[in-house]
Symmetry: C2
Subunit: 483 residues, 2 copies
């Protein structure tokens, strides 16, 4: 990281933590340069970077000011969820396929998508690596690399853990067909049919689908859109029920965008260690943080081998290559055996190309650019919500990733909204997809990772207007009913 | 196919069917040319091809003769299996991982491997396609192609079915991470835990592992090393037990190499249709036939959508690319949804490279070369068995694929043999891997697809000598015991 980037990150962290508030004036370039012993160019570049990230603004002949936090400028955060505390078998598959199944074609503005825009990834370099790596590839490695997987890639994964201060043994790393397979295998490794599994409320529908497929019961636990799962509620739940595993996203949860602070992660790991309950930690958005420092996973605090950490290159580097991994703790051996029985291995060319990309360096530079873009996109999306969505709309303010959680006025049925948006070639992910009982019909998950798409602004306007119309229709119907 | 290849295949078929017998003299080049209206060059090229395939030999100043069929020159076929007719839960995983798990490194002569030698595949061309396809790849297809998969590749699969006279709708084809995922998904689509599934006896250990993973019970049915599963025995079994599905390999079964004749396939499909039982047909070796014509799968005879046909490019074109498919009959929709929930998709670059390879043509030419190589390798392997293995060794004569099934004298414990061979860097696949009750300790599956490896001959000699020594040790022990 360059000097100016480091300085910009420091200021970003001050803004994030609330030390610097909207409207605060930053030191002048000359003053900051003198105070920090950095060149004026460095300070200027840092301010410029913060401006492009939407965090500060230059006012002519006055200086640089912290921009208003869109979340604090009129939009409240949604409430914490209040699940009923009863475990239930899941039946979510059909709803997911109906609502999001057919909407991944390019005609659609993908506000409901779970994917990042592939144009944000270094696809040309990856393609070049595919060609050159495989041209000279030792044919025997097509068999040898099936298990335990590309050695160089596994080494890079271990090194990146080490950069975060985590010691993960190479033998603990199992390569998988995307994080999806990793999560499915992990779940199967630590449960048997009928078992109860704790999930956040709301939770990513793929988690609910996996539970459904393996005939497991889901126990939703209250979750804050800001701090993640409620540790007290979890502790209570564990007292009275036999839980086989937890499946959680501690960093930038899908769909809430919540981030568990370190002390809550610590409490979580301690609580689960006490009960000897494995934690499946879905951490696919970890690299997409907006603060100054990458948040650590719960895995970093685990000393008992109970945390199974699932990562992926699909969200931030190589979409469609289908390479993820699991750092499986004490379950790593079992997970690897299950993968060998199920899909045998990820695609060898995909593994080789990603390993070659990591070898040449530049991954961190790419990630910095990606994070800067997503920070800008978040600002664009928040402004659009504020401008176009019906009054009373509440929204989470994610500190990473590319997903927003919107709570619309209760009268807006997002399944109806979905149908209307679909006619206008806009995809949406309605709230019911993220709950075992298909509630939260007035909620939406919104992907702002496509805010660079020229169609994004007008799509947001359209959805906002449709939602507003639904509140009006509803109010009119009520008026008619009373009349 | 060229004229000379077509003529060579005709003769190969006559030999295979027994119309031409070992020692028979073929027409002279001049006579054949006159009789068939083909040029002498064509006849000569056909004879030359048959010679390289090990089917005929030129005797100086005498002409061309059908070579002795190695199977008929002293080696008997193994007996049909005689399972006990009881279904049981499977516990095979650990044995498989102990015996074959660590033996895929190149130091080992892979007689126990299930893989073809990757050097037999057009890897350089595939690599070139990877590079060029992905260089110009439309980024949006990295998302769009996840479901329902690369359109061009699915079209090629449908066209190849059509070439075989089969009508398969494009919507029926689900792309999978190798055939392994296809088979696992198919099995899960048509069963629930505790269900009974019919398998051949012996059967590929991956099938047993899948049953184990899904907590299904296996019902082994008697199977001939020549004709495949015994239809009468199957019919009896279905009368008295509730079977949820059959998992069979009708063509070049692993491990037996057996091939079900068309009339038996017809009877099989009719029997299962009568009971409304789905057939999962693992047909990964279909392209590797030695006769004149590709054998049709049972799928070709199915009119009720009950047959789920699983294929792959791993065995004959692109090892390690992890692309297979399922033509899922009436279960296709469910199988596709399950794949979306489990691994989402095969790797997009792998799909694109294989599609590009098929676009350019040359696949059938490659397959002809591959089949010719395997026919030669079979002859080499049979000769080695005859020369080096203990008297009384029986062996199947596969009509395709690259696997032999050996029945050694009862006194040879192949688990012991495996340990001895392992010390000499030779891998073996002992018989117990292929049975639910781990019986057949005197049997071996042998991969002859590596007979082009310069180490193959001496490895066969070593294994033969070790096996012979085990019979002697055993005889000596018996003598000592009686004395």
């Amino acid at each position: 990281m360059n000097l100016y980037e480091r300085y910009a990150d420091e200021i970003a962290e001050l803004i994030r933590s609330g030390m610097l508030r909207p409207g605060d004036r930053l030191s002048s370039v000359r003053a900051a340069s003198a105070a920090r012993g950095l060149s004026r160019t460095t300070i200027f570049e840092a301010y410029y970077l913060l401006e492009t990230r939407g965090l500060i603004e230059a006012r002519p002949r006055s200086g640089y000011y912290v921009k208003g936090d869109p979340a604090k400028a009129g939009l409240e955060a949604p409430d914490d969820s209040k699940p009923n505390g009863k475990a239930k078998f899941v039946d979510i598959g059909q709803l997911v396929f109906e609502l999001v199944g057919s909407l991944s074609r390019r005609e659609f503005v993908p506000l409901g998508s779970a994917f990042l825009s592939p144009t944000l990834c270094p696809l040309t370099r990856l393609a070049a690596h595919l060609g050159t790596e495989m041209r000279d590839f030792d044919p025997w490695r097509l068999v040898e690399d099936l298990a335990p997987g590309n050695e160089s890639l596994r080494r890079h994964i271990v090194l990146r853990y080490a950069m975060d201060g985590m010691v993960v043994a190479p033998t603990e790393v199992v390569l998988t067909n995307g994080a999806m397979e990793g999560l499915n295998l992990s779940l199967q490794a630590v449960t048997k049919p009928g078992d109860m599994v704790v999930v956040e409320s709301p939770t990513f529908y793929a988690a609910l689908q996996a539970l459904d497929r393996l005939r497991l019961r889901a126990l939703e636990v209250a979750t804050s859109p800001t701090w993640g799962i409620d540790i007290d509620a979890l502790s209570e739940a564990l007292k009275c029920q036999r839980v086989a595993a937890c499946w959680l996203m501690t960093n930038f949860q899908n769909p809430l965008g919540s981030l568990m602070p370190d002390d809550r992660k610590k409490a979580l790991v301690a609580l689960l260690a006490e009960h000897e309950i494995p934690l499946i930690e879905d951490d696919v958005y970890a690299e997409l943080y907006f603060g100054a420092k990458k948040p650590l996973p719960a895995k970093a605090l685990d000393s008992k081998g109970l945390v199974i950490h699932c990562g992926s290159f699909s969200k931030c580097l190589a979409p469609g290559y289908r390479v993820g991994w699991v750092a499986g703790g004490r379950f790593a051996g079992k997970i690897e055996q299950m993968r060998l029985m199920y899909t045998l291995s990820p695609a060898i060319p995909s593994e080789a190309a990603i390993a070659a990309y990591l070898d040449r360096g530049g991954y961190d530079r790419h990630l910095r650019r990606l994070r800067a873009a997503l920070t800008r996109y978040l600002a664009i999306a928040m402004e659009a919500v504020q401008t176009h969505f019906p009054p009373g709309t509440r929204v989470s303010v994610p500190q990473g990733g590319y997903l927003l959680w919107l709570e619309l006025p209760e009268s807006v049925d997002t399944i109806k909204l979905h149908a209307l948006a679909r006619e206008r070639c806009i995809s949406l992910a309605p709230g019911p997809l993220f709950f075992t009982d298909h509630r939260a019909r007035h909620c939406l998950r919104l992907n702002y990772g496509h805010a660079g798409d020229p169609r994004f602004a007008s799509a947001m306007q359209t959805v906002g207007q449709l939602a507003t119309a639904l509140t009006t229709t509803c109010a009119m119907n009520e008026t008619t009913a009373t009349a």
